[in-house]
């Protein structure tokens, strides 16, 4: 009896291995050419595992690196500067003005595009040249997570994408918890444009971050990037000014000085005119969570010092 069970066990193992092998083969047969639908509903056919990718926007480059597949990127756009290694990747133009020749010369087997910004005719041209183009549309945290998932599947990095997503979720939940304790939700004016004055509307991820970080976006509304005159901003009576560092150093000081003239503003009274690094605020990548954490600490410093004190204990 035992010997037969042993034989069956061995046999079962063999069966399992055989089954696994069969599965692997079928899996790779199927993956010989995948037919997928990208985030814009386009049907994209990709054969085999992509080994030479061209990322058509800096955010795409970042996301692919976050998935641990940065070495597959053979071409990136001009401002793909994160992480550090991305700076060494050959350039293929800027994301609004792509150089088709350079892209084609890199012989990619997959291009990843973004909906907002990449010129349509370039995408069409690449497809006409039989280069598959997978388009994503990372507009907010949810779609960034979707993008991570999909690219994870595409690039055979599902494990890593799950890990990244989980990390993001945990950090988001942590912030949510801390911010829930706030007794006051301050009015924020988030300034991304100096001249003219431009802020962010409801349909942007910065708005989402502000809400998550326990603040109110004064510029909320239908227009994605609304413009304001100085008077309108004064009428808002913001409690906090957050200005992104589109231009370095000197310009921020000037802007801060400008707003400081209006001493009646709560933001001026409490000295809450703050500068943030635009690099993490205007790209739809996992670093948005970094931005969220920065924002939360700026808006509710009181909640975080207690946290720090508590963690120090």
């Amino acid at each position: 009896m035992k010997s037969s069970i042993n034989i069956i066990l061995k046999y079962r193992l063999f069966l399992i291995i055989a089954a696994a092998a069969a599965l692997i083969f079928t899996f790779t047969d199927v993956s010989q050419s995948k037919i997928l639908k990208d985030q814009l509903g386009r049907v994209v056919t990709i054969s085999g595992k992509p080994e030479r990718i061209v990322a058509l926007a800096p955010s795409i480059t970042e996301i692919i690196f976050a998935l641990g597949k940065g070495s597959l990127i053979k071409g990136a756009t001009q401002y793909s500067n994160f992480p550090e290694r991305a700076k060494k990747i050959p350039r293929i133009g800027s994301y609004v003005h792509l150089d088709i020749e350079k892209i084609v010369a890199l012989r990619p087997d997959l291009c990843v595009a973004v909906k907002d910004g990449n010129p349509q005719f370039v995408i069409k041209k690449l497809e006409a040249l039989k280069i598959p183009v997978y388009a994503v549309d990372p507009r907010n945290i949810e779609s960034v997570i979707e993008t991570l998932k999909e690219l994870g599947v595409l690039l055979d990095a599902s494990k890593k994408s799950k890990a990244v997503i989980q990390n993001m979720q945990e950090r988001i939940d942590k912030i949510k918890k801390i911010v829930a304790k706030a007794d006051h939700i301050p009015k924020i004016f988030f300034q991304i444009g100096i001249s003219p004055i431009v802020s962010v509307g409801t349909n942007t991820f910065v708005h989402e971050l502000i809400c998550l970080a326990g603040g109110t976006n004064l510029a909320r509304g239908n227009i994605s990037y609304p413009r304001y005159s100085k008077e309108q901003v004064l009428a808002f009576s913001p409690e906090i000014f957050i200005i992104t560092s589109m231009a370095r150093g000197g310009l921020f000081e000037k802007v801060k000085l400008e707003w400081s003239r209006w001493s009646d503003l709560p933001a001026v009274k409490n000295d809450r005119i703050l500068l943030v690094d635009s690099n993490i605020f205007d790209r739809a990548t996992p670093r948005l969570i970094d931005a969220l954490e920065v924002l939360a600490k700026l808006i509710h410093p009181e909640l975080f010092t207690t946290e720090i004190k508590r963690s120090q204990k």
Binding site: Q78, R91, G93, S94, V96, H97, D99, I100, E101, K102, V104, A105, R107, D116, G117, P119, Q120, F121, K125, A128, L129, G193, V198, S224, Y225, R227
Partner: protein, 336 residues
């Protein structure tokens, strides 16, 4: 007797053939160079054996560069001939193809198209084209009711309409934020990067009949330059000829502008350059502008593509930077 006259026909054929050769040469160079290397070898292989080995390079040359070089040639030809015709009709050496509001009207059309999110082809093309036709009609209505000598009223109406359009354009630009601003600026500066074989074929279909028609009118344009009165006594129907040439030229230039934006300077300077070199006879200038203008544009587009380390310059910048000095040098030489 002298070398210029008689047998203008022979002279025209000789000049046309020379320019054709120049154009072919320029196009070959244009195909061989770009932001990637190896083109010359591929072209040589193609010329010698009829096919190239490297398929990627092949794709680059024939599917990316070739439509662009072709469109550049068509743009150069159309704008140069357009400038020549407007200079003849308006009897004004400062005339150029955009002077009668074509630029203003089509720009407004294109910008509106970009803002409402139309794709380059066919959406923006059609809107831009309609914009320039509407503007032409506006100008014709504004300057109608005068006698056969409508030259100055046409010119003035055109200048006014263009000024108004500029104001509208600036207004539209001030409303735009985001990446569409980039698209608009590139269109206003002239953009050959979205050239496509299908578009090139459509352009050729639209332009070649116009070129032929204009060539048939070359001698008539010579007569127009002698003054309307003399032209009438020579059998020219001034109103009909002016109207026909106006409509045909507007049609041609609008087709180009709606595809490639406002590439400037070519239409003003090429006719003058060629006139300095070859004389004022339109029977020679028309083919010279078509073939010479296209060569010039192909070369300028090539430079626009290869000079900057990253990306490309607007081709209108190159046409001005090269054209102006050449013109001044030629002008100085012929004055002495």
């Amino acid at each position: 007797m002298n070398k210029k006259t008689p047998v203008v026909l022979k002279r025209m054929i000789f000049i046309s053939l020379s320019f054709l050769l120049l154009l072919a040469g320029a196009m070959l160079i244009g195909l061989s160079m770009g932001s990637t290397k190896g083109g010359f070898k591929a072209i040589w292989e193609f010329v010698v054996s009829g096919s190239a080995d490297d398929s990627v390079l092949n794709a680059i040359i024939w599917q990316i560069r070739f439509p662009r070089v072709l469109v550049a040639a068509l743009v150069g030809a159309t704008l140069s001939v357009g400038g020549l015709i407007f200079q003849a009709i308006l009897k004004n050496p400062l005339a150029e193809p955009y002077i009668l509001g074509i630029s203003g009207g089509s720009a407004i059309g294109a910008i509106i198209g970009i803002l409402i999110g139309l794709s380059r082809f066919p959406g923006i093309n059609i809107i831009a084209f309609s914009g320039s036709i509407v503007t032409l009609l506006l100008i014709l209505v504004m300057s109608s009711g005068k006698s056969t000598l409508i030259k100055d009223s046409l010119l003035l109406s055109g200048v006014m309409v263009n000024a108004f359009c500029s104001a509208v354009i600036m207004f539209l630009i001030s409303l735009t934020q985001d990446f569409r601003l980039h698209n608009i600026m590139f269109w206003l500066m002239g953009d050959l990067s979205s050239s496509d074989l299908y578009q090139a074929k459509i352009l050729m279909l639209m332009l070649f009949p116009c070129f032929i028609l204009i060539f048939l009118y070359s001698n008539t344009m010579n007569l127009l330059l002698l003054g309307n009165e003399l032209a009438i006594t020579m059998g020219v129907n001034i109103k009909a000829v002016t109207m026909t040439l106006l409509v045909v030229t507007t049609f041609m230039v609008s087709a180009i502008v709606s595809q490639c934006g406002l590439i400037g300077f070519v239409g003003l300077v090429t006719p003058h350059l060629l006139r300095l070199l070859l004389g004022s006879d339109h029977r020679i200038l028309v083919p010279a502008c078509i073939l010479g203008g296209s060569t010039y544009m192909v070369i300028c587009d090539l430079l626009a593509r290869i000079l900057p380390a990253h990306g490309e310059m607007p081709v209108g910048v190159i046409t001005a930077m090269i054209g102006a000095p050449i013109f001044i040098i030629l002008l100085k030489k012929t004055k002495t």
